[in-house]
Symmetry: C2
Subunit: 202 residues, 2 copies
């Protein structure tokens, strides 16, 4: 009898691991452009593998979306960690919002996950600890008096959801930089305001 009771190799084969990465990368690229309804066949082709291979790693398209969600939220978490290094709390928080906004405007998959896949979003954000990171960033900014006290970390996703949506002047899936920057300017001023408009408790 071999040392291990179950003879299955603990780690998957090298090519399988590599292919998994190729698929995720292909999904990231295509879904950034076409949104979550990029087709599995196209993703497979982009990755340079067959559809069968995609389905071995991700039994369902939904599973692939979950994996992608985690990947994208990890990116946002990185932004948070970098912002936490900065000395100025208010500026750090606002800069994070801008970087996040830019990512969301550039990547359809991210905004569609936030819009249409609450569970995937929840799971992905949970896994990378995004909410806590944002909360820390925000609390600092509040203690520095940079933003209103009654705002909370949970408000951020809703504020950001408005990005990545088309507007009359900007047909098509991607909004122009000036458009979303105007939006962000208003939101950030709203966050700086000392709560003039009464905000209902969460």
């Amino acid at each position: 009898m071999t040392p291990s009771a179950d003879t299955l190799p603990r780690t998957q084969r090298a090519d399988a691991r590599r292919n998994r990465e190729l698929v995720i990368e292909a999904a990231r690229k295509l879904m950034a452009k076409d949104g979550l309804d990029a087709q599995m066949d196209d993703i497979a082709r982009e990755a340079g593998v067959g559809v069968g291979t995609v389905y071995r790693h991700f039994p369902t398209k939904e599973d692939l979306i979950y994996a992608l969600a985690e990947h994208r939220f990890e990116r946002l978490a990185q932004f948070c960690r970098e912002a936490l290094e900065e000395p100025d709390p208010g500026g750090a928080f606002e800069r994070y919002l801008y970087r996040g906004a830019e990512l969301q405007v550039t990547d359809r998959s991210l905004s569609e996950i936030m819009r249409d896949r609450p569970e995937a979003m929840q799971a992905g954000a949970q896994k990378v600890g995004l909410l806590e990171l944002v909360r820390e960033l925000m609390t600092r900014a509040q203690e520095a008096g940079a933003i209103r006290k009654d705002a909370e970390a949970e408000d951020v996703p809703m504020l950001m959801c408005g990005l990545g949506t088309s507007t009359p002047g900007n047909p098509g899936p991607f909004v122009s930089p000036t458009t979303w920057r105007r939006f962000m300017a208003i939101v950030i001023d709203g966050l700086r305001a000392p709560g003039a408009a009464e905000m209902p408790p969460r």
Copy 2:
């Protein structure tokens, strides 16, 4: 020879006209609940007619969506006209934003049209003159010093697009009242701010 050169009746048959209304009303109801991918068969059943009838009035699902868009934007236009009656310009504008927000949160079709159907939105808004109405409402508020001068009517749809999107605390298609009211409080404070954050020109 009959008085009219072409013997075709100028108006369609009474039952046809009635059925057209029934279909639009059914689409309004179902798409408010299920979004734009409510199914044609279900809409027909809800209207109490056959699918064939739906397709005679609206050769394509897209055509039905266009008709619905116009219907929904007409509602927003009504809100505008009512707001224009009010004496206080700032309050009127803010009240309009809240009524619009509530409609958007209640009606998935409206937010999905604004998100995913730029042309239908453009056409519908154009037809009911919504942009001009909003502009008038906004200009008044600006002249009264209630909101920042650098905001424009075209910014409104983008601000409103964020509504009707799910957030971690609110899975499912509809957001809770407290959630969207928090969002609106921040946006309105951002609109009241005298432009502290630099806003790029449109």
